[in-house]
């Protein structure tokens, strides 16, 4: 074999080897995704959804701080930011006129996790309408969903809320 023929053969063998590795890696990653327990959390996509805004205060002016918008969930604890996914936060009126908020949280890890949540209810001027609720503990088994609910003290004065989450301690 000439030098060029040898080089060509080596290149073809290298190309074949790379192609095999790519195919195998594709299969392996596909298998891993298929066999991995649900829920499977795409943390990049979850982080991209986080949207901090400047919530106007009671005086209507824009404050020098950005935070989660009203009627949503605020993660206070950096230790669990990449461990849980807050699915949703909803609110409805109870027959007694108070406001009940509900939220579902997914544990994205393979370990049991405890989180604590509390709710601050706000009035029409974005000021607290009552004292913040006490921390309520939610136990999350691995890869499971947990739910949180809280009721307001006030009735007609309550117009919005912020739910705060931290790791249970």
């Amino acid at each position: 074999m000439t030098f060029f023929e040898t080089r060509g053969a080596a290149t073809r063998r290298q190309g074949a080897a790379i192609a095999c590795v790519v195919v195998v890696a594709g299969f392996v990653s596909g298998c891993a995704r298929t066999n991995e327990q649900a829920p499977w959390c795409n943390m990049s996509a979850i982080n991209d959804q986080r949207n901090l805004v400047a919530v106007p205060g009671p005086d209507g002016r824009e404050p020098p701080v950005v935070e989660v918008p009203l009627n949503s969930v605020s993660m206070l604890d950096a230790t669990i930011t990449s461990k849980v996914y807050v699915r949703d936060a909803t609110a409805k009126r109870t027959p007694a006129g108070t406001v009940e908020v509900r939220s579902q949280i997914a544990n994205c890890t393979d370990f049991p996790l405890q989180v604590e949540l509390r709710t601050q209810f706000m009035d029409a001027e974005n000021a607290p309408s009552e004292a913040v609720s006490a921390w309520r503990r939610v136990y999350l088994t691995p890869r499971s969903n947990g739910s949180y609910h809280e009721s307001s003290i006030g009735t007609t004065a309550v117009k919005s809320y912020i739910i705060e989450v931290r790791e249970g301690r």
Binding site: T94, P95, A96, G97, T98, E100, E130, S133, A134, W135, R136, R137, E150, S151, S152, I153, R169
Partner: protein, 214 residues
């Protein structure tokens, strides 16, 4: 050339230092606060065991209060009901040997403040105080005060009863202790005996240390 480069190097350093100072002024001082003996009653304190602690009492009474205010039969009536909340029928059969009044008092005080007239609270725990003053007024030994006299003090519509129970397990080899605590609350109709509201607060704690509760 050497002098020029030396000067520009020094100027660069000065600019960098000033820029760093300005950046430090504008940023958050992300350091710990000053240590203090005070701690948040709603969070675990520096001494933790398997019993009922401040954060449990705060969380428990807050949950019960909010739940009661969401019950239409208690907080949604046209005529506010007369409610009695005290420790008279709140029994403690658990291994937690502390003052159960801290639970009932916190619940009564916070509920009274939060209800804002949706419920009326009767101080049956100081009934003797009320009867004594009523007797003094009627005997003429004191004047009638500024409020109008009534034929009788208020009767209760609903009264709270409850129970604290626990289940303890202990590993004698390791000293590890686990306690399941259950605190139940009920509101009973004092005319019919009907339970109009009830709720349970439960928790399980495990630990190695032997903490003394008083």
């Amino acid at each position: 050339m050497g002098q020029k480069s030396g000067r520009s190097w020094r100027n660069g350093l000065v600019l960098a230092a000033v820029g760093g100072m300005l950046a430090g002024c504008a940023g958050v001082d992300n350091s710990r606060g000053t240590p203090t003996v005070y701690s948040d009653p709603g969070s675990p304190g520096p001494v933790q065991g398997v019993g009922i602690e401040s954060q449990d009492i705060v969380s428990m009474t807050d949950q019960m209060m909010r739940d009661m205010l969401s019950e239409p039969r208690l907080a949604g009536r046209k005529t506010p009901p007369n409610v009695i909340i005290d420790d008279e029928y709140f029994s403690n059969d658990s291994t937690w040997r502390a003052d159960k009044k801290v639970i009932t008092e916190r619940l009564r005080v916070n509920l009274n403040r939060a209800a804002k007239g949706r419920m009326v609270f009767i101080a049956r725990h100081v009934a003797a105080m009320v009867e004594n003053e009523r007797a003094l007024k009627r005997e003429g030994r004191v004047d009638k005060g500024t409020l109008s006299m009534t034929a009788a003090s208020k009767g209760g519509d609903y009264r709270m009863d409850g129970h604290i129970g626990s289940v303890d397990t202990l590993n004698p080899r390791t000293g590890m202790k686990s306690r399941y605590s259950q605190i139940s609350f009920e509101m009973v109709d004092l005319e019919t005996g009907e339970i109009v509201w009830s709720n349970i607060y439960e928790m399980q704690k495990s630990g190695q240390d032997d903490i003394i509760y008083r």
